[in-house]
């Protein structure tokens, strides 16, 4: 056993000492996050009279659904020890696909086209990472650039005859039943349930954790690591495509910039949710809470209207950064001491 200060992954570590609260934090970060979220909502209600309205909840869920879907693919990838900077652009591309293909044929075909596109692009990322062994940062960075360029070019080429977003998708993204539960929230919950089930109860989910925990051990155990990675990245692309369909509905028309506000926040939500960037642990439940937390915080800052002009945006950025840092540090310490 060789441990050096700063290297925290030695194989044999002491069993947990009886500090139950800290252990709870490390192994069930969801509880701490939920408490934090609750606190935030309470503070919001105090600071802004009439904050806790149905319309507000609907708003949060609407925005949260998109971020949640984008963060889902990111969560799964981060568990494998990777990262994907192109997921947001896959979503944008999918949004374009569903609009334009639906205009040409029908909405179901458009949706299938968008999903297929997402999965295909994801698979290409997966091939770069799994088969060629390149750094996920670089591969997805390159893919993000390619997609960004493709989208901008496509957009400019179709300025004259831009397709509009199908009515059903607009409904999906913007309308709610019972007055405050958006349809998109159902989509999010459905995807979330599937994702969590997959991670916890399927062999594929086990492999996701295994590959992130110790890729070399997986190879020795005969696991087809390359195939697993291709499948994981394709899956992330698929989920992001779902997010893209909702996104284009929310944005009301396909435009190249609609995804950019979600790039870093989607990664932030994963970190806030307690999934370690090193891979091998974590889960989507935490990410969901992270998404809600960040969305609520976001909305709060906008409503509070601190200062004028760009100040709320600035405050939002600064708070994002500090929260991500603080939570990443808190999780790390809790995991070490447990």
């Amino acid at each position: 056993m060789k441990t050096v200060p700063g290297d925290r992954r030695s194989v044999a570590v002491a069993p947990p000492s009886p500090r139950r609260v800290q252990r709870l934090l490390a192994e069930r970060p969801a509880i701490a996050l939920a408490v934090f979220l609750l606190l935030l909502v309470v503070i919001a209600s105090i600071l802004i009279p009439g904050y806790l309205s149905l319309a507000q909840v609907a708003n949060i869920l609407r925005l949260g659904s998109v971020m949640g879907l984008l963060a889902a693919g990111q969560t799964v990838l981060i568990i494998t020890g990777g990262i994907d900077l192109s997921l947001v652009w896959i979503a944008v591309a999918a949004g374009y696909a569903v609009s334009y293909v639906s205009a040409d044929s029908s909405v179901p075909v458009g949706i299938i086209a968008a999903l297929a596109l997402g999965a295909a692009i994801g698979a290409v990322n997966g091939i770069g990472v799994g088969v060629f062994g390149a750094s996920p940062l670089i591969v997805t960075l390159g893919m993000a650039g390619i997609l960004q360029g493709a989208v901008v070019v496509f957009d400019k080429a179709h300025l004259a005859n831009a397709a509009s977003v199908p009515g059903s998708i607009l409904q999906l993204a913007n309308d709610s039943i019972v007055g405050f539960v958006p349809y998109s929230a159902f989509v999010w919950v459905a995807v979330a349930a599937l994702a969590i089930l997959m991670l916890q109860r399927t062999g594929f989910g086990r492999l996701i954790y295994a590959v992130g925990d110790n890729r070399a051990a997986c190879r020795l155990a005969g696991i087809p690591v390359a195939a697993t990675l291709v499948a994981v990245y394709a899956l992330a692309g698929l989920i992001s495509a779902i997010g893209g369909i909702v996104l284009v509905g929310l944005s009301r028309y396909a435009n190249a910039d609609m995804g950019t506000p979600f790039l870093l926040p989607s990664i932030a939500a994963v970190v806030v949710g307690g999934t370690s960037i090193a891979g091998g642990s974590g889960g989507y439940g935490g990410t969901m809470l992270g998404v809600l937390l960040l969305t609520v915080l976001d909305g709060l800052l906008t409503l509070l209207n601190i200062g004028q002009g760009q100040a709320p945006q600035a405050a939002r950025f600064i708070l994002y950064g500090l929260i991500v840092l603080a939570l990443a540090w808190a999780y790390l310490r809790a995991a070490q001491q447990a």
Binding site: K2, L137, L141, G142, G149, V153, I277, F317, G321, A328
Partner: protein, 339 residues
């Protein structure tokens, strides 16, 4: 058992070392030459004006790349390089708005020092918290973007004295009349690059501290056991990153005469691209500045080439992305190794 065979001829050792360290950067300069050649073919009137525009446009990005190289060499990465650049651009433009030339130089120096401090703080946070550099710099990139917005809510505000701008947008002979005819075709913007290399990087490279930085990136355990202070070296590495980012921000202030708090992200991502293309291993410990400089100019030159060819500027992203992927996937494995 026989004694170990060790290479005897010192010539072959030196040659092997040169190849290992310089082959890739050399190739990147060839790439740059090819791109410039292609530019001349596509645009027969290629002259001083085009060179000047290229330098003006590429300099801030190149300086950001220099900064990223420092972090990556030490085994880390700085996802906040772009927003740091934006931050210092905004600070400089705000401070210099009504300043004279001499004052602007002093402000520039102050900004450079601030850059070092900010970078060093980043390194200190990584040390103290133990959180991986990707996350810390992701978080700090948010914070810097926010602070930049606070300082300058509206893009395009602020200003810089004309003479300061000339340092970056003029010809060498505008700054130093004694360079005469030759100096009138050399862009002054190269001065900032020269400053970065001659005043900051090369003296650093001669010091023991630079060996510590490379050792840290090469094998952190070995560095630690050798008595290198991991914490101090990391602070120094990120401090240098911040300094170069600040220099880039100054360059942007000089070339645009104003500040823009929004530009961060693409600088960051492209700086990583240029670093990898320039032959610096993402795991650290291998590479130098020569490669990334050529890589940065190549990437920018590629965009210009596309413009000359009449290809829409929007395809630039596609081309950059494809180039990056091809370079890293295929060529990278030959020379550098993977992360």
């Amino acid at each position: 058992m026989k004694a170990l065979q060790l290479p005897v001829a010192s010539g072959s050792v030196a040659r092997r070392r040169w190849l290992r360290r310089n082959a890739w950067p050399a190739l990147v300069y060839v790439l740059l030459a090819v791109i410039v050649l292609a530019q001349r073919i596509a645009h027969p009137n290629y002259g001083a004006f085009e060179i000047q525009s290229a330098v003006i446009g590429a300099m801030p990005f190149t300086l950001a790349t220099l900064g990223q190289t420092c972090a990556v060499l030490a085994g880390g990465i700085d996802l906040a390089v772009g927003t740091e650049l934006a931050l210092f651009n905004v600070i400089a433009a705000t401070l210099m708005a009504n300043a004279g030339f001499g004052e602007s130089l002093l402000i520039g120096l102050l900004v450079l020092v601030m850059g070092f401090v900010v970078g060093a703080l980043t390194g200190a946070v990584i040390n103290v918290t133990g959180v991986p550099d990707i996350i810390v710099t992701l978080a700090t990139s948010f914070v810097f973007a926010g602070v930049a917005l606070l300082i300058m809510p509206i893009a395009g505000s602020g200003g810089a004295p004309t003479e300061f701008g000339t340092l970056f947008t003029g010809e060498l002979s505008d700054v130093w009349p004694w360079t005469g005819a030759v100096g009138s075709v050399i862009p002054a913007g190269l001065l900032s690059l020269a400053f970065a290399l001659l005043v900051i990087w090369l003296p650093f490279r001669r010091s023991r501290a630079s060996l510590a930085l490379y050792a840290l990136g090469s094998n952190r355990t070995a560095a630690f056991l050798s008595g290198v202070s991991v914490n101090r070296t990391r602070i120094l590495a990120y401090g240098l990153t911040g300094t170069f980012a600040a220099l880039g921000g100054l360059a942007l202030t000089g070339t645009t005469g104003s500040g823009d708090p929004n530009i961060g992200i693409s600088y960051t991502l492209n700086s990583v691209a240029a670093v990898v293309l320039g032959g610096v291993s993402l795991t650290g410990g291998r590479g130098g500045m020569a490669g990334p400089i050529a890589a940065a100019f190549s990437l920018y030159g590629l965009l210009i080439l596309l413009q000359f060819l009449g290809i829409s500027v929007d395809y630039q992203y596609v081309v950059q992305g494809v180039t990056l992927v091809i370079v890293v996937l295929f060529l990278g494995r030959l020379w550098i190794g993977k992360r």
